[in-house]
C-alpha cells in the first residue's frame, strides 16, 4: 500500500494521555482505544489513576493517566516506553515525562503552564522554556484558548466549555494517527443525547482539534498504523473486570445455575459488581453486603441452597473473608472467591497493581485449609479463567480462589468472542428426593428415624461429596464448621478422624490435578532457561521471552494458571531447564513455593512498585542469567 505524502508507517505506537483527575483523561484514552480497536489494530491499555477521587487540582497527587498501545502486530503489553505523551498540566508532565522515549513527542496544553500551575507541580522553572525537554519533540498547544474560541457561540458557561478540552486533544491525536472521528461522534451523541448543547460542544471541539492538526504546521507528517493481522472472527474490546463478570454469568448458564454474587465495594473489584448487577435477566442476583464477611457468608449460604455462590474483593477484603473461607473448606461447598489484587499490605496502593496475595490465597486461613487457586493471565483471559473457577468449584465441591489484578482488571485488549455452541456444559448433579415408607422423608411420624439416613459426606472416587439442596425431601442434613466424621458428617472430635479428614480435604484438592490441563511452555521443551510466571505478567513475559528467542537463545516461557493444585507435570517441566527464573510482582512468593515443593534452585525477578513489568527489564534479566 502506498502512503500519501507526509504519512509515515508505524508498527506499534504507545500514547499516554495524562492530566488532572478532572480532565477526562480516562475518557479520552478509552475513546481513542475504542477507535483504534474498531479500526482493526491490536490494542492493550493501562489506565493509571490516583486513589483519591479528586485530589486538589493541578497537584502531583491528582494526576490520572491512560496508556494505550496499538499496533499492526500482536501486542501483549500496554508498551514499555511512551512514543507520544499528551500532558494537560505541569503535574502530568512531571509525573509522566520520564517514561517517554528519547525523541518521543510531548504535546502539552501550554495554557495550563502559568506560575501557579508550575508551583503546584513543584517546578522551579518552566519546563517548556528551560530546555529540560530538549530531547523530546515538544509541541505546545493552547488547548484551553482554542477550545473557548471554538465554542464562542455555544450557550454553555465558561466552566462547561473548558471541560470540553479533552476532546480537543482527542481530535488532534486522531488526526495525527489517521483515526476517523465518526466512532467518537456516535459515542458523544449516545452519551450526551439528552443534553444537545454539551453533545454539540464536544463534537465542535473534537473537530477543532482535528482541524488544528491539519493547519498548525507543527507536524511534518502524520502516522499510519495498519490493521493487525488477528485471526479471523468477531472481536470485542474488553477489560479484565468485564471479562470476569461475563465469565461468571456464562458459567451460571452453562451449569443451569442462578448466579449469586455477594460483594462489598472495594477498589479495584467493584466494577465486577457493577457489571453483574446489570444482568439480572441472566438469573444473576447481586448482593451489596454490609461488609466483606457478609459478602462471603451470603455467597456460602447461597451455594448451600443451590445457587452458584461467588464473592469478589481485593486483598484487604480477602483478609476479612478468611474465617468464612475455612467454613467453605470444612463444609465442602462450591464457592468462587475473586481477588482483584492491589498493592498491599493494609490499605496499601488501592489503585495500583501487585501480585502479593498469592500466599494469602494459598495459606491465609487457620488450620490446614487447602483451597484451589487459579489466576488469569490477561484481560480477555479473565473470561476463561472465571468459567474454569466456577466449573471446578461446582464439580469438585470446593471453594476456589480466582486471582486477577488491578492491571488486567482495568486494562483492555481485543477479545476473540468465543462460539457459545462450542462451550462445554458444566454438568452439576444434585441427589434427588428420598421417599421412605411413611412417605415423609426419613421420619415415620413417631420420631423414629428410619434408615437410610442421608450421608452428606459420602464421597465419590474424586472424594467429592453430594451437593444436596435444602428443599429436597428426605435429604435433611446439618453441616457446619466443627470437625465432622466422614460419610455421616456428624460432629466428631476423635484424633484419628481429624487426621483422616485433614488428609481427605487435601487429597480432594490434589485430585483436581487429574481434571485440569497439563502445563505447556512457549519455546523449547528443554534448554538453558525457563521463565516462569503467573497472572497478569503473562504479556510482558511472553514478549520478553520472544525477543530473546529471536536472538537465538534457548529460553522458554511457562505461565502457570493452576497454582493449587499445580498441573501434574509441572515438576518435570521445571527440571528440563538448566535455570529457572520466576518473575513476579511480589517479593518471591511463587518462587518460594516452587523451591519448597520441587526442590529447584529458582532465581527471581521481583518488582513491587505498583506497576507492571517493563519488557526491557525482563529482557535484561533473562540475558543476564543466560550469560552467567
Amino acid at each position: 500500500m502506498t502512503m500519501p505524502q507526509g504519512v509515515q508507517e508505524r508498527t506499534t505506537v504507545t500514547i499516554r494521555f495524562a492530566g488532572d483527575s478532572g480532565d477526562g483523561m480516562q475518557l479520552t484514552g478509552t475513546q481513542f482505544t475504542r477507535t483504534s480497536a474498531i479500526f482493526g489494530n491490536d490494542i492493550s491499555t493501562f489506565p493509571d489513576f490516583p486513589a483519591e477521587i479528586r485530589a486538589p487540582a493541578g497537584t502531583l497527587a491528582g494526576v490520572s493517566g491512560f496508556q494505550v498501545h496499538f499496533g499492526s502486530e500482536e501486542l501483549h503489553t500496554p508498551g514499555d516506553e511512551v512514543d507520544t505523551l499528551v500532558a494537560f498540566n505541569p503535574a502530568a508532565l512531571k509525573t509522566n515525562v520520564d517514561d517517554v522515549r528519547d525523541g518521543g513527542m510531548v504535546i502539552v496544553n501550554e495554557d495550563s503552564f502559568g506560575a501557579t500551575d508550575l508551583k503546584k507541580a513543584h517546578y522551579d522553572s518552566n519546563p517548556l522554556e528551560d530546555g529540560s525537554l530538549d530531547k523530546f519533540r515538544l509541541i505546545k498547544v493552547p488547548a484551553t484558548k482554542l477550545t473557548q474560541e471554538a465554542l464562542k457561540d455555544s450557550p454553555l458557561g465558561n466552566r462547561d466549555k473548558d471541560r470540553c478540552k479533552n476532546f480537543f486533544a482527542l481530535g488532534l491525536i486522531s488526526w495525527l494517527y489517521g483515526r476517523p472521528l465518526h466512532a467518537v461522534e456516535e459515542w458523544i451523541d449516545q452519551k450526551f443525547g439528552k443534553n444537545p448543547d454539551v453533545a454539540s460542544a464536544n463534537r465542535t471541539v473534537l473537530h477543532a482539534g482535528h482541524a488544528y492538526g491539519e493547519t498548525c504546521e507543527f507536524f511534518e507528517h502524520t502516522y499510519h498504523v495498519s490493521k493487525a493481522k488477528l485471526p479471523p472472527g468477531r472481536y470485542r474490546r474488553i477489560s479484565g473486570n468485564e471479562a470476569t463478570a461475563i465469565g461468571f454469568i456464562v458459567a451460571g448458564r452453562l451449569a443451569g445455575k442462578d448466579v449469586f454474587y455477594g460483594s462489598y465495594p472495594i477498589t479495584p473489584a467493584s466494577d465486577v459488581l457493577h457489571v453483574l448487577s446489570r444482568y439480572k435477566h441472566f438469573d444473576v442476583k447481586t448482593f451489596q453486603a454490609e461488609d466483606e464477611i457478609a459478602a462471603v457468608c451470603s455467597s456460602i449460604g447461597a451455594s448451600f441452597a443451590g445457587d452458584l455462590g461467588i464473592t469478589g474483593t481485593s486483598g484487604p477484603g480477602l483478609a476479612l473473608k478468611g474465617e468464612a473461607l475455612g467454613l467453605a473448606v470444612m463444609t465442602e461447598l462450591p464457592l468462587v472467591v475473586l481477588n482483584v489484587q492491589r498493592g498491599g499490605p493494609s490499605t496499601g496502593l488501592p489503585t495500583k497493581t501487585e501480585q502479593a496475595d498469592l500466599f494469602q490465597a494459598m495459606y491465609g486461613r487457620n488450620g490446614e485449609c487447602p483451597m484451589v487457586v487459579i489466576a488469569a493471565n490477561s484481560p480477555a483471559d479473565c473470561f476463561d479463567t472465571a468459567v474454569e473457577a466456577c466449573r471446578i468449584a461446582m464439580q469438585h465441591m470446593v471453594p476456589v480462589n480466582l486471582l486477577t489484578d488491578g492491571y488486567i482488571a482495568n486494562g483492555q485488549e481485543p477479545w476473540a468472542i468465543p462460539d457459545p455452541d462450542k462451550m462445554a456444559p458444566i454438568v452439576v448433579k444434585h441427589p434427588g428426593p428420598v421417599k421412605t415408607s411413611s412417605g415423609n422423608g426419613n421420619g415415620n411420624g413417631n420420631g423414629d428415624v428410619e434408615p437410610p439416613l442421608f450421608k452428606p459426606y459420602l464421597r465419590d472416587d474424586r472424594l467429592v461429596r453430594p451437593w444436596a439442596l435444602p428443599g429436597t425431601e428426605g435429604l435433611q442434613h446439618r453441616i457446619g464448621g466443627l470437625e465432622k466424621a466422614d460419610v455421616t458428617g456428624n460432629v466428631n472430635y476423635e484424633p484419628e478422624n481429624h487426621e483422616h479428614m485433614i488428609a481427605t480435604r487435601q487429597k480432594k484438592v490434589d485430585l483436581i490435578a487429574n481434571h485440569i490441563p497439563e502445563q505447556t511452555v512457549m519455546g523449547p521443551e528443554e534448554g538453558d532457561l525457563l521463565v516462569v510466571g503467573w497472572g497478569g505478567t503473562a504479556g510482558a513475559l511472553r514478549t520478553a521471552v520472544e525477543r530473546v528467542q529471536k536472538q537465538g537463545k534457548s529460553v522458554a516461557h511457562c505461565h502457570i494458571r493452576y497454582l493449587m493444585p499445580f498441573p501434574r507435570n509441572l515438576g518435570d517441566v521445571l527440571k528440563r531447564y538448566k535455570k529457572v527464573l520466576v518473575a513476579e510482582l511480589n517479593c518471591g512468593q511463587l518462587r518460594f513455593i516452587l523451591r519448597g515443593k520441587f526442590l529447584i534452585d529458582a532465581y527471581g525477578i521481583n518488582k513491587v512498585q505498583g506497576k507492571p513489568f517493563l519488557v526491557s527489564e525482563l529482557e535484561n534479566k533473562i540475558n543476564e542469567l543466560l550469560s552467567n
Binding site: P232, R234, F260, A289, G301, A324, P470
Partner: protein, 341 residues
C-alpha cells in the same frame, strides 16, 4: 395432578438423631422443645426448613433438628441465611443466635438483616453471659457484672436486644422467656406467620454461669409485678391484683394504679403492635426491671417490603423487559468488529 395430604408430623419428627449436649438444666432445652412442638403446626415439610446458627451454646441448635441446618461461624448466621433465603425464597429460614453471637461479634449482620426485612425468623437466646467460653460478661450483661474477665465488675453499658431490633425498624419484634413455655409457643407461632424479619428475644437461663438472671420475671410471687404481657388493642395492665397499668406522661411511661385518683382503664396506654411509627414499640423496649415491668409478647408487627421478595422480583422484571438472557447475546455486546480471512 393429585395433591397428597401432608402427613401429620409430630414434635418427635423434628428431632435429629444427634445426642443433645447442652448442660443439664439449661434453658435451651425448653426452647428446643417448644420449637419442635410448634414446627408441625406450621404445615411446612421438614425439608423446606433451614436452621442457620452462628457460634455459642444456642448455635448448636440446628444439630438437634431434623431439618436442613447450617452451623456457621461466629456472628455470621444472618449473612449466611441471607444467601440461603435469596437463593431459594421458598425455604422457611430460622436463625438461632445468642446475645454474644448476635449482638457482639455479629451485631453488624443482625442489624442489616433486620433493616432489609429479610423474610427469616431470628431467635436470639439472651442469657446475658458467655457460656461456651465459660463465663465472661456479654453485651447484654448488666453494668458492674462480675465475671471471669471482669473481677471488679464490667464497666460496659449493656445493649438491649429489642431496642436494637426496633432501632433497625424490624417489622416484627417480640420477647418471651424459657420458663413460660405456653407463651413461647404462642410467640413462635406468631413469628412464623409473619412475613419479613421476625425478631424474638428469648430470656434464657444459663444455670452454670449466670443462674437466675431472669428469676425476677419468673418467680411466682414476683412475676406478675415485673412483667407486662402485651395484647394488641388491650390496655397495658399488670400486677398480681391486675390493678396496675402503664400510662403515658408526656413522652414517658409511668406506672399508675387503677382506681387511685380516679384512674380508669381508658386512661392507660393501649397496645398497638401495628403502628407504622416504631416509637411506642421503642418506648416499650426501654421499660426495664426494676423500674418497670418488662414487656413480654409482640411489641411490633407491621407489613413492610421484603428483601428476598424484591430481589427475586427484580430478576423477574428484568426478564420480562429484556427476555431470558442468552449466552450469545452477552458475548456480543459492546464494541465489536469483524476480522475477515
Amino acid at each position: 395432578m393429585a395433591t397428597e395430604a401432608l402427613p401429620q408430623l409430630k414434635a418427635k419428627d423434628f428431632a435429629s438423631d444427634q445426642e443433645i449436649r447442652w448442660c443439664p438444666g439449661c434453658g435451651d432445652y425448653a426452647i428446643l422443645a417448644q420449637v419442635k412442638k410448634v414446627m408441625p403446626e406450621l404445615g411446612i415439610p421438614r425439608e423446606k426448613m433451614v436452621f442457620v446458627s452462628g457460634i455459642g451454646c444456642s448455635s448448636r441448635f440446628p444439630y438437634y433438628m431434623n431439618t436442613y441446618g447450617f452451623h456457621t461461624i461466629h456472628g455470621r448466621a444472618p449473612a449466611v441465611a441471607t444467601g440461603v433465603k435469596v437463593a431459594n425464597p421458598e425455604l422457611t429460614v430460622f436463625i438461632v443466635t445468642g446475645d454474644g453471637d448476635g449482638l457482639s461479634i455479629g451485631g453488624n449482620h443482625l442489624i442489616h438483616a433486620i433493616r432489609r426485612n429479610l423474610d427469616v425468623n431470628i431467635l436470639l437466646f439472651n442469657n446475658r453471659i458467655y457460656g461456651l467460653t465459660k463465663g465472661q460478661y456479654s453485651p447484654t450483661s448488666e453494668h458492674g457484672k462480675k465475671t471471669k474477665s471482669t473481677p471488679m465488675g464490667s464497666v460496659d453499658n449493656p445493649l438491649h436486644p429489642l431496642s436494637i431490633a426496633i432501632g433497625a425498624e424490624a417489622s416484627f419484634v417480640a420477647r418471651t422467656i424459657d420458663r413460660n413455655v405456653q407463651h413461647m409457643a404462642d410467640v413462635l407461632r406468631r413469628a412464623a406467620a409473619h412475613k419479613g424479619t421476625a425478631f424474638i428475644e428469648i430470656y434464657q437461663n444459663c444455670n452454670i454461669f449466670n443462674d437466675g438472671a431472669f428469676l425476677y420475671s419468673t418467680e411466682k410471687d414476683q412475676k406478675d409485678d415485673t412483667t407486662l404481657y402485651l395484647e394488641h388493642g388491650k390496655p397495658m395492665i399488670f400486677g398480681k391484683e391486675r390493678n396496675k397499668g402503664i400510662r403515658l406522661n408526656g413522652l414517658n411511661p409511668e406506672i399508675v394504679t387503677l382506681g387511685e385518683g380516679g384512674i380508669k382503664e381508658d386512661d392507660l396506654l393501649f397496645h398497638d403492635e401495628q403502628l407504622a411509627e416504631p416509637s411506642l414499640a421503642y418506648m416499650l423496649s426501654r421499660m426495664r426491671y426494676p423500674e418497670f415491668p418488662e414487656p413480654m409478647g409482640v411489641l411490633r408487627s407491621v407489613d413492610q417490603p421484603k428483601f428476598d421478595e424484591e430481589m427475586v422480583a427484580q430478576v423477574k422484571d428484568a426478564k420480562a423487559k429484556r427476555g431470558e438472557g442468552k449466552i450469545a447475546d452477552i458475548l456480543n455486546e459492546g464494541d465489536t468488529w469483524d476480522v475477515a480471512e
